[in-house]
Amino acid sequence: MSSSTSSSRRMAFYTMLIAAVTLLPAMGLVNWLTRSAEAGAGDIFGIQRIRSVTESLDYMAATEGNTLLFIGSSLVKDGFSPRIFDATVQSVAHKEVTSFNVGMGNMKPSYLKLLVQRIADTYAAQGRRADVVLLEFNPFLVTQAREQFRPFMTEQVQAMLMSPQQVGATFWQDPERFARLVSIKYLRHGVSAEAITGGLRFLVGQAQAQAPLMAQLTEDQLNHLQQLAEFRSRLNQYIREEQPVTGKSHVWNPVTQGGLIDMMDLSPQAQEVAAEISRQMRHPKAMAMDLQSRIQCCDIENLTVNDKLISEFLDTVDSARRFSDRVEIVLLPRNRQWVQLSPSGQAHLQAVLQRLQQHTGLTIRNYQEHGAFDGSDFYDVSHLSMDKGRPLFSSVLARDLAATFETLE
């Protein structure tokens, strides 16, 4: 070996040492910061729920007996209680059923497709099948407006929903994307750079948009906001004390079968606070602001549909059929007191439902106009409330599905 070669190698080792001294601590810091942010800051990045769901898929697939998976958006997460559902089926159809809530925020069909593919792979790996799969079809998550909403979240949600094999497969199609997905999934705890910067811009934009509205609030309305914050803090305190295992309600938990903490889990005092929060949240000013934001983000009244998202929903149905013989489509109740579809909105919804029916041939359970629900069953313009809407919907759904379970062994 010549002296120049050995000298070159010495310098190469020196370079690697200098790189390691800088790069490794920086990567460690990023890992620590994202872990802390993700763990400590609630579910603002939407990742805790996704991770906990994907980590629980094996558990769901391994569960013995009659099983049901209800997969969908935050409407399902907030509006479906598996335990109330199971108890109702038991009392009506005398069948032991274990249902799971697989609802997550922001689940437009492009994400839902990845999730259901992953569930199908998990069931296939275990050689199991689910008895019933309910797929939520949320009309305002398939709109053009929604497709454009918060694009900075896309990469991190996809990274977390994809299995290691799916991530690996992207290497051959797009090595750049593969590298990003690996970094998000394994270095950054699911928190992408885009989500941080995009989230900050989004929050600044929100703050700027809301500042004039906030300035117009009366003293009563400001007091109301403060009261609401206090009630929330008290409820969180109760939950921490009374439910130490399921403290973080949004984290998927086998105890609640993926559902959120229900009223029955709480003491009477905590129940009172929870009911008060729902009531306070229905303040007309808050509801009007929420409706406005839903119109902007999701075109909730006109429902101008994005075809790509519909195709992705149809792909999702195909994936669901891989692990269950009984797949149904469910539309959750709409808060008709606040959300009135325009004539074009109604026509769009009708056309989409017909298309789904034609392409899938599945039963579509549409609770959008169900007479059992009114404005007091929701805590905002779209989500069912913990105290009234969720138990009501879970039991109504269970009664409607009881016949299905009676036919199961």
């Binding site: 070159s8 990023v30 750049e176």
Partner: protein, 470 residues
Amino acid sequence: MLFNTPLFLGFFVLFFLLYCFVFTQPRGRALFLVVASLVFYAGWDYRFVPLLVFSGVVDFFVAQQIEGHTEQRARKRWLLVSIATNLGILGIFKYSNFMIDSVQDTLSFFGMPVSLGTLEVVLPVGISFYTFQSMSYTIDVYRGETRARRNFVPFFATLSFFPQLVAGPILRAKQILPQIERFPQVTPDDVKFGFVLITMGLFKKTIADLLAAPAQTLFNSDAPLSWLETVTGVLAFAGQIYGDFSGYSDIAIGIALLLGIQIPLNFNTPYFALSPVDFWKRWHISLSSWLRDYLYIALGGNRNGRQIRNVFITMLLGGLWHGAAWTFVWWGAYHGTIISLTHLLRRTRLGQWLAGIELSAFRWLQWLFTFYLVCIGWVFFRAESMGDAFAILGALHNPASTIEAQPYAGGVLAMVALVILLIHCIDYGIVHRRELITRRYPRFVPLLILGLTFTILIGEPGYEFIYFQF
């Protein structure tokens, strides 16, 4: 393959290991460098690899012809072949549609509307950089400043040198060819300073991407904005383009240093300039010196009382080099004008009197006025059309505008100003404290770790460097 992506990190680690442990002899290294550079370039668009090779082959051959001829006319003819080839490539790929559109617009302005269609051409990345670099080689050979090379591989390795291939700095053959031919030994100081440059370059790029949002708010807005937001948008773009381009240059120079190749710095705290002339000695130094040496001097420089004309032509073409649009032509003409006015002012008694003032307050005023002039130029540079540029300039000079600013607009402006200052402080350290940084490197490591952490944490890998489009 962007420098600020994990994919490039993977590429570079693999390249570096092979470069240091397998290809240790100059001949093998040069060939390996060529292969790696072509892989890097193909990562952008493999269809344009032959174009890069073609440009290199022509100039390699032409340089030998120039050197082989003693008769001046023949030498000149061969030089013209090189210039025509390189400018021809640029003309076809970069300016053809601009010229067609301009002819159409002119004819239609005179009431003769015609449709000449457009050519289906894609702009090859880095074309403006490598054609200029390649031309400088044949011009240097013509001028007798460097000798024509007989071995194609080292020559082509310099032309396609991947750290600076797609966005400069524009290197001269006489600077880099001797280094690629013998690959000087890397020193520990090279490694340390290289890492400082790479880290700070990535940090600056991240800052630049953050500044993109307020700049876009202004330049992509359909409706007029308030005065405060207009100032913020212009200032943000000034910071964005500086952080973006100087960040890229720093990374390129830093990577080259890790390979033992010395490339001169491309920026020297440009917004600290005290006159437009001073600004161009500090901004994109490799281009401004290229234009000076190969265009301005070729036009006659400041001889025969033609300085003003030559400055103007040089800056006009410099503007056009940046992009095929009238906004860039205006930007070049604008800089040509303010540099010319600076030269004219210096010739007057008033100018000489002003130059003699030693008051620091006057220096601050000079600095502020220069920065203001440069920012006006950025409006032409960034605006989508001349109409937009003039509308923004109108809003910028109308502090009495009745359009109300968004809440917290003052805070955003303060943040933008602070960030630009921060980038300059970093640059100042890099330019003026190299010796201190390498001598006391361990003291700077925590800063580098923080800078890198910030970059990895919020640096969005999808953001391209602005100068790639040129």
